[in-house]
Point group: C2
Chain length 508, copies 2
């Protein structure tokens, strides 16, 4: 870590100017370096990568708890495997033509549409390859090619695997660190089950895992069943998890998909059931990415820089000896003792013994969002105490004898402050959709629609009505909240009673 980031000296933009603040802060806090000569591919610097790995550790723990096993698939996918995806498209088209569950099967016409977004490899060394390959954008195709080899009987089910790998998308939109990138640090869980009900139970487990992670990261979220037109191709339904960013736009940070047996039919993933019959498995997936870090940066940061959730802060406590001319060595060695004690207790602590003014040190660690700063000077030492300063505000003196307990409580308090602040922001962004009248195929609202607001409403209308709302507001349907209204309300379009709570927002 270089000592005083030159960027930081230039002064941090106000967070109210989020578009300026965000790109400035990810570099000033040394999370990434954007000067690598490919757009949308940042270099992860030690502080950023360590944070990401700590986020990943939380995910690993949840995966262990729920008995998922980690695998690692090749990055490259041969083009001809797409034949099976095309088969999926045909199967779905046929089903649609036969009138089977048409609303449920509505999807983009080509699953293979993502072919427009992948990087292709057609040359190796000086050779033109016979078979084109592409860099995985996600691993359904690679994995489901292997599943039939691993699944024989019901005893092999459920199969629950996951991986954390780099995936690639040829983004043509504007890129943004962690939020929209071309090399993605990706988490994907894939499961196979004996039937639809068991796959549905998996979706429930996934949502519980998401909730645990979001609690650790102090991020309130919207959980919605995406509208059919925004469902992952090949999925029966998609449940997405969105964070509300400082500008009121929503950022999808996780999604879970129920595939039923659609992919299994295309990839011939079957098992022998109790009675010796071959059955198709039902599948689910669950995806997340470095967007989790983007959401942490955006939601918790302030005008002084990052604020790191204690659960994933690479440095939870920075210890700063307050040095006077008489006492410099003493204070450094006392500070080192504190750091040793904290480390022994499993707390990520570090000393800053640089020969610069304390104010400069405070500034550096505030930018990096270290949750707790401990100052120890001659007067503290005389009182056998230390001063604890929370990144979220407030300072308290604690006796050194109670150091570990005090620090644990202070870190918990920072977490609570973060929860409170992010929940306040979250609530302040959500409002009921204003009343409106219909003028032709346009809605005229009583109050102006704001792009920095997430609107909620009771809605039970059809796609055309949803489209009318989207066009009139220039916002997008996130979908039906998994938390319905407790009592029926009138649908804003049809007036019919419904408990469906729908969110509408400008999305990233």
């Amino acid at each position: 870590m270089s000592k005083t980031p030159a960027a930081a000296k230039r002064g941090i933009p106000s967070k109210t100017d989020f578009k300026e603040w965000y790109p400035f802060i990810v570099e000033a806090a040394e999370l990434v370096d954007k000067r690598y000569p490919i757009k949308g591919m940042d270099v992860w610097r030690p502080y950023g990568w360590k944070t990401m790995r700590l986020i990943d550790d939380l995910t690993h723990k949840e995966m262990d708890r729920t008995e998922h096993e980690e695998v690692n698939f090749p990055l490259l996918i041969p083009e001809d495997l797409l034949d099976k995806e095309n088969r999926l498209v045909s199967l779905l088209k046929a089903a649609r033509e036969q009138g089977v569950d048409p609303s449920e099967l509505r999807m983009e016409d080509e699953v293979g549409g993502f072919a427009k977004e992948v990087y292709w490899i057609r040359h190796a060394g000086e050779t033109e390859l016979e078979k084109s390959m592409f860099l995985r954008p996600t691993s359904e195709t690679a994995m489901y090619t292997m599943f039939p080899l691993w699944i024989r009987s019901h005893a092999d089910l459920p199969l629950k695997i996951y991986q954390m790998v780099n995936t690639f998308r040829y983004e043509t939109k504007q890129t943004r660190s962690f939020i929209r990138v071309r090399e993605i640090h990706f988490f994907e869980a894939h499961t196979a089950h004996i039937d639809e009900a068991d796959a549905t139970r998996q979706i429930e487990e996934d949502l519980e895992i998401v909730q645990n992670l979001m609690n650790d990261l102090k991020l309130p979220v919207l959980v919605t069943k995406r509208p059919v037109w925004d469902t992952f191709p090949g999925a029966w339904y998609t449940i997405a998890i969105d964070v509300i960013m400082p500008d009121g736009r929503t950022l999808q940070v996780a999604s879970v998909h129920h595939y039923r047996d659609q992919w299994a039919r295309a990839f011939d993933v079957t098992y022998e059931d109790d009675s010796g019959e071959q059955q198709f498995v039902h599948q689910t997936t669950y995806g997340m990415s470095e967007r989790l870090l983007g959401a942490i940066v955006a939601n918790h940061g302030d005008n002084q820089g990052l604020v790191m959730p204690p659960s994933v802060a690479p440095i939870q406590v920075i210890v700063i000896p307050i040095i006077s001319k008489q006492s410099s060595e003493d204070m450094v060695s006392e500070a080192e003792k504190l750091v040793s004690k904290l480390k022994e207790a499993g707390i990520r602590a570090r000393i800053d013994a640089r020969d610069i003014r304390p104010g400069q040190k405070y500034y550096d660690w505030e930018i990096k969002g270290v949750p707790l700063r401990i100052e120890i000077g001659p007067r503290d030492l005389a009182n056998n105490s230390v001063m604890c300063v929370r990144r979220t505000g407030g300072k308290t003196s604690h006796p050194i004898d109670d150091l570990i307990e005090a620090v644990e409580n202070e870190l918990a308090a920072v977490g609570e402050d973060m929860n409170k602040n992010s929940m306040e922001h979250f609530k302040s962004c959500i409002r009921d959709l204003p009343n409106f009248s219909v003028d032709g195929n346009k809605l005229v609202f009583d109050e102006q629609i704001q792009s920095g607001i997430v609107y909620e409403m009771a809605f039970d209308g059809n796609d055309a009505e949803a489209e009318m709302i989207e066009k009139s507001t220039d916002l997008s349907f996130l979908g039906n909240s998994t938390t319905s209204y407790s009592k029926s309300r009138s649908c804003v379009m049809t007036g019919q009673p419904t408990q469906n709570r729908v969110y509408l927002a400008k999305t990233y």
Copy 2:
């Protein structure tokens, strides 16, 4: 993990037939699946990936201890960055022409020679890219493009970073799981220093790290300074770490390179010294890969399957309840209690409560190389004891009250057995080069040269003499051992006294 790998039922080839045994065992033990439709790109299955991650954890710990910081660079490298590598070639050529240290600068004519071994990306979506990019085979070019942005003054040095990433080589030779693959699970450390001496200290630290890792993995190694013609392009010198495989061929599992300031000159990596002058940094790198796992499989395995070093065994202890008709539930619950106790003590333990014969269970866990098996049956329980069976042979009964201590000792004993066995093999493979007479430009040996033997000799000759030995034996110089002879011997070619101990072997 599927229950009884079908492959295993077919019977394991004898390890004396190493060529058959190795590919069989990596699949039967469920380390990888080779049926993915790209040659040289295996799917890591949970058991294999978990082992690799435990190996990586050992490396992470060593990196923490030695204050390296982890980064993560983009996979893709724009072709035009190679211009700087070409500059390196020109610089080295010029130095050679000026007669500067010619022997030290001998290297392949083109650093860019690896361009023949990379995968190229020239298309994304439906677009032909303006700038070609390639998948990193290693990260010098990507990293040293950023170093000048991070290094300003001597206060930024030493810079010590590392990453664990996927790298790619378009192998045209026969591929082999872990040993020669096209997608490589790669570790690379890169450092920059104020001068040559500090870089040399880094090389020493690297060799200490290697030795710690090899101790944990129970792998004896040859450490040699590679001959100039086998030095990494752009390196001043390369020290390589080789394992001796069961067939007597050597496998390079790690290498460290001292670059002096050669790359720094090509990439303009400078710092301001104390007196305000710009100086080039001196650099080193240190690389390892999944070959470590290949070496574990090959060196420790036997006719029953893998033998996992306790330090990286995903399952260190498998607990098997010996079930009779009267006592089945009791034994399972007793076994579960043991597993809980072991886990609490930080030991990776697991129960096998499947409803199959114990013999079948033993067989499955032997294939997977679990270091210790604990059997608990009604008779053991009556004696308040358990039976511990070491994967390396031998069984001992221990009182349940001493479980943790007993298991820790048993695991240590397995480690010692592995050390002893692998050291025996290692020593048995190394012999003095037989006496010879010179016939024209060929050597005629008193005894036949064997490809399964690593020959050592005192050697202080020139390149032509080394080449004569290589051609006459059909073996390769590994280079000068870092452990010289304690007393001078006569060089086998020149007869001059030397302490240089040189190894000659057939290499992977």
